[in-house]
Symmetry: D2
Subunit: 181 residues, 4 copies
């Protein structure tokens, strides 16, 4: 393996009003990624919190590396506790553009809950042949798409996982393949 | 109204093996857009045909203007009959990036059938507050999402239409609002 | 020839305080492109005028087609007289990103005067093997680079021209090669 | 200071046939950045070596963190000794697009020698108000632009430095300002 595996965590933005339980699970995803010695990649927002940002906090609490991928040109992100080791400023707008660079930079992604942004990220991931692990049980597009192929091209199936530990284990296994290509 | 309305037609790529009936309807969408005096915007591929490209052929048959939005750096596109008036070369890869510029450049989009690419385009459109008209009855992500809000933010509902004429009429009405902003 | 030739006009923004003489020449470039039956592609700003926008006004006065390529997600551009037939919204920020899509979408570009933005556009054009015609005599990066190869790779030389008519004639000749590839 | 300073090293590609002396200096830039405890950001190519890649090797030899920013969708880069800690895949083509994300993600850049690519990066940096340090004495666009303002807007002057140590010291000082914004 050349690099540490880059695992993206994608999920609802705070405006979707997720529960503190779901936030804890996203945080735990980051913790598990950090414990495995790999990199948490997340979509850094500028105006509010998100499950993706919660994962970066979890990763940092365990001392793991984090990469935040943001939109626009400013490096000022929603990162009150300075949990971001590397900031990537895409110069692309949010809503599909920034998300394209975000997903494209991951060896694998883990999705949890999620609205239109997470849906976009899962659909991009499928198109780029980047595996998607779905932490199921918390609604949103993650639950709707878990276990499916997205379309009749039957490329990579969205892989369901029931716990953060299982999700990260599957992500590492799938991401390693991509990483070693 | 400042400009002609820019109406994007999005749908399956030829690798999804759509029927000639669906292709005819996409062609008819382009014809109707042309007859209304507006612009057909489509995603220009380099390797195969698509419903989006079929719409550009329909538009051109009626003498309407067409704009093809492609990926990479080359201007060589799948356009055997030279139906493209303006070619935009985004320098972004296919699978989310090119699609972001494509959707972002439309006042409104019409979707028909469609796999992961069309799903990405609809999800981007929703995020950018660009209205989506769904020509229903032909499966794919268009049928799955017609009449829904995509997520609990309840922004713009995907508007179902039953015929190309209805789809274009609704698109013009919705696109005009965006165009006059 | 498949399409009309897409000729980009690049030059100083209004914050560089160009003279009315230079603005007239940019306007004339657009007029000449329109008279030749080709398309004027320009970088549409949202906050102020530019030589590029002046060219679009010239093109429109002669009834020629214009394509404005802008940044961000809004279609509201600096276009008081509605001279833009097609608006492309790149979702990329200004200062290099939008400029990349702008140049990449041209068969050839004509530069006049210009600061850092025009410099970026000329350098991108050189890298993409898109010919650059320099309307010389009005300072800026256009004059500095006219007749040079930019670097020792000696790809396409920046072609000097002394009048708008000469610039457009050379641009058509060079753009046709690209257009027919 | 929130993050480690992200210092981009930009310079000629191997097709410009730079001397081993210049390559050593680029390598030393990476070493100095690593010794200062900061991050080396570089433009990862897929087909050949570059001064930017040489800097990543230097950084890694000293155990410093490296971020490679590449084009297209593949993560396979010119990185024979696995010197890249984080790979960012922009989905934008080389020649201006990838470079936009690269520069935009730096707190400051150091340039050395360089052809059209480095020129593009310096011009983008100027437009984005990201400081540029020029390691002078080795020709190319770096030497031509050192000490100048690029245009009459007189934003940030390109700061000349005579040694890698001086260049990195100035870069840290300038990058810190950006980092703490």
């Amino acid at each position: 393996m050349k690099r540490k595996i880059q695992i993206g965590v994608m999920g609802s933005g705070a405006d979707l009003k997720y529960s503190s339980e779901v936030e804890s699970l996203a945080f735990e995803l980051g913790q598990q990624i950090a414990k495995s010695g790999n990199i948490t990649v997340y979509g850094a927002e500028k105006d509010y919190d998100s499950l993706s940002t919660a994962a970066s906090r979890g990763a940092k609490q365990e001392g793991g590396p984090t990469v935040g991928i943001t939109y626009g040109t400013s490096k000022k992100i929603w990162d009150k506790d300075s949990n971001t080791d590397v900031i990537v400023v895409t110069g692309l707008e949010r809503g599909g553009g920034r998300e394209f660079v975000l997903v494209n930079s991951c060896d694998v992604i883990i999705a949890i809950s999620g609205g239109s942004g997470t849906l976009t990220e899962i659909a991009i991931s499928y198109q780029l042949d980047i595996p998607v692990v779905a932490l199921v049980g918390f609604g949103g597009w993650t639950d709707k798409l878990a276990g499916t192929f997205i379309d009749s091209r039957n490329r990579l199936k969205i892989l369901p996982a029931k716990t953060p530990t299982e999700a990260v284990n599957v992500a590492i296994k799938m991401g390693k393949i991509n990483n070693e290509k």
